[in-house]
C-alpha cells in the first residue's frame, strides 16, 4: 500500500486541487490510496485516537508527477467521509 501501483496519472499534471483528511474519522481502509490516479495520498506514521494509521495527504506543491487535481475520486470512495476536496 502507498507505493507505486503502476498506474499512470490520468489527469492533467497541474496542482489545482487540495484535500483535507480528517484523521480522527479515518479507519485506515486505504481505499482512497487505491483510487488516487496521481498517488497523492500516503499512510501516516502516526496513529489516531482509534489506533489506526490514517491516510495522509502528501504535500504535492511543486511535484508535478504527484499533483492533486481535485478530482475527488478519493472522497467518492472514502467510506467514512473523512475527505474534503477543494479545487481552484
Amino acid at each position: 500500500m502507498g507505493e507505486s501501483n503502476g498506474k499512470r496519472p490520468m489527469t492533467a499534471k497541474t496542482n489545482k486541487g487540495r484535500i483535507v483528511i480528517d484523521s480522527s474519522l479515518c479507519k485506515g481502509c486505504y481505499l482512497c490510496i487505491s483510487v488516487c490516479p496521481n498517488e497523492c495520498i500516503a499512510v501516516s506514521d502516526e496513529t489516531n485516537e482509534k489506533g489506526y494509521h490514517p491516510a495522509r495527504f502528501k504535500n504535492t506543491k511543486g511535484d508535478t508527477d504527484h499533483a492533486c487535481t481535485g478530482c475527488a475520486l478519493c472522497a467518492i470512495m472514502c467510506p467514512d467521509i473523512a475527505i474534503e476536496v477543494y479545487r481552484g
Partner: protein, 247 residues
C-alpha cells in the same frame, strides 16, 4: 478562488460511523443522503432502519427515522406511507433482514405495489452477529456456520430475492448495483436516484440491491473485498436493471 467541491452531505449528521474499515454501509449511507439532498426531499423523507449492522442508521441520517423490528422494514414503511402519503419513505435493509427474516413482508409489500423505496444491502453474510451464513451466501463461501463452504445440498443455494420481487405485479423498478469501485458507486447513486424518483412519481415499489463488501467477516483486506465483489459475487448476483417499468 478555491472552491469546496466535496464534503459531508447535508442529511448525514457529524457522527462518526461505527462500521468496520472499508464497510459498504458507510458509502451507501452517504449516497442515500446525497440523493435526498439533490432531490430536495430532506424535510419530508422518513427512513426505516433494519436490525443488523445498520441498526444505528438513525444516529447518522438527519431525516426522520422509525426503527422496524427485524425484517419488518417494508411493513413498517407501508404503514408510514399509508398514513402520510405525501412523505418519501425508504427502508434500509441488509440481506439477512430482507431475504430471511423479512421475506414475507418484503414479497407482499412488493406485490401490493406499495409506493416505497427499499435499499437492500447484500454483503452475503450476517455481518453484525459475526459472519454466519445468510440466504445470499455464495456456494462454497466460508462462514462461521458453513465451515468448508456452503453446499447446495446441505444448505441450499443462494436466493436471488431481487429476481423474485421482479416477478410480482406491484414492483416497478428493481436494479442490482455494487459499491466495489468508483464506477459502481456512481451507478449506485443513479439507481438510488431513479428509485426515489419512481416513488415521488407515485409509480409503486422500487428496490435497489447493492452488493457491499464485508472485509471483516470475509477475512480479507478492504481492497481484496472490493475485488471479490467484482470478480466472484457478480457471477452469482449479476449487476443489472432487473425490472424497469417507470416509463
Amino acid at each position: 478562488m478555491e472552491e469546496l467541491v466535496f464534503t459531508r452531505p447535508r442529511y448525514l449528521k457529524k457522527t462518526p460511523f461505527h462500521y468496520c474499515p472499508g464497510c459498504g454501509h458507510s458509502i451507501i449511507h452517504r449516497l442515500v443522503a446525497e440523493v435526498i439532498e439533490e432531490l430536495g426531499i430532506g424535510d419530508k423523507t422518513i427512513g426505516v432502519p433494519p436490525a443488523g449492522c445498520a441498526v444505528l442508521a438513525y444516529d447518522y441520517f438527519d431525516v426522520d427515522m422509525g426503527e422496524a423490528p427485524h425484517g419488518r422494514g417494508p411493513a413498517v414503511a407501508t404503514g408510514i406511507k399509508r398514513i402520510l402519503p405525501d412523505r418519501i419513505v425508504f427502508s434500509y435493509q441488509g440481506d439477512g433482514d430482507i431475504a430471511a427474516i423479512g421475506t414475507a413482508e418484503t414479497i407482499h409489500a412488493a406485490n401490493r405495489g406499495e409506493n416505497i423505496t427499499v435499499i437492500f444491502v447484500n454483503n452475503s453474510c450476517y455481518g453484525m452477529t459475526g459472519g454466519q451464513m445468510a440466504p445470499t451466501t455464495l456456494l462454497g463461501q466460508n462462514s462461521t456456520t458453513t465451515p468448508g463452504g456452503r453446499d447446495a445440498r446441505r444448505d441450499g443455494a443462494p436466493i436471488d430475492l431481487s429476481e423474485i420481487l421482479a416477478l410480482t405485479q406491484g414492483s416497478v423498478y428493481i436494479e442490482r448495483t455494487a459499491v466495489s469501485s468508483l464506477k459502481n458507486i456512481i451507478k449506485t447513486k443513479k439507481a438510488i436516484t431513479k428509485a426515489f424518483k419512481a416513488q415521488m412519481a407515485g409509480k409503486g415499489f422500487s428496490l435497489v440491491e447493492i452488493l457491499s463488501p464485508c472485509p471483516t467477516n470475509w477475512k480479507m483486506s478492504t481492497i481484496d473485498a472490493c475485488r471479490r465483489i467484482d470478480e466472484t459475487v457478480v457471477q452469482t448476483f449479476p449487476l443489472k436493471v432487473i425490472k424497469d417499468e417507470t416509463e
